[in-house]
Symmetry: C2
Amino acid sequence: MKWSELSEAPCSVARSVAVIGDRWTLMLLRDCFLGVRRFEDFERRLGISRSIVAGRLKRLTDEGVLRREAYQDRPLRHEYRLTEKGLALHPVLMAIVHWGDAYYAGEAGPPLLHRHRTCGCDFQPVTTCSECGGPVTARDVEVRPGPGVG
Amino acid sequence: MKWSELSEAPCSVARSVAVIGDRWTLMLLRDCFLGVRRFEDFERRLGISRSIVAGRLKRLTDEGVLRREAYQDRPLRHEYRLTEKGLALHPVLMAIVHWGDAYYAGEAGPPLLHRHRTCGCDFQPVTTCSECGGPVTARDVEVRPGPGVG
């Protein structure tokens, strides 16, 4: 399979990975969730070339994950903000953070803490079932073909 | 920043992304969670070169996400199984599936359904707070420096 064919595959992982499954894209999305919005800030934080940043931001904008918005007229300047579709990636980023905290944090502990505004506590994300509310782990999930299996 | 420096960054996303933030690695992990274990099966399902499959499987094995286990003596053959550290990536994959189902499923619906054995229902993953059990969205999370900020 060619990389360009991934987005056509009848698999929701493949379709998502075709959009976000790239190291720098995931790092840009991390920064978006930390409130970064401007091209120069993405570039500076990641320390990578302008063309990599530009390409990734364009792809995310084309896919509707980010929207480009003018924040200044003269000269015209834009910033990048997460759309609803982009905000819907939060569980992906939280799950990645949590795994990194669990296995790569080192002795000092996690570099960042996440506070749940609703209860005021620092928390870890827990994946639960939309139907019964109980915890979901790899061992209690059964996969079967759905209507869009193709 | 060079890609090779990502794993040293004081950021749990960066450290995780250094291990799993690659399109084919994510696709291999998808297959692992679907029960695929053998080299030839990964290769056939993804339709990519042996060297890409071999490189990604080696990296995941070196990181302790997969373990290599002999399943046949003559000739000696191995299969790849998720370790506990690998199984702990399940929330990442579930979150990616869920986003793909929500935004890329097409009219027919999702290609795969996920059944929660505990309650018997097809479900969607919901990210909740380890402390209060309530739902967590991007809007109710506040990030602050942790002990390992460096």
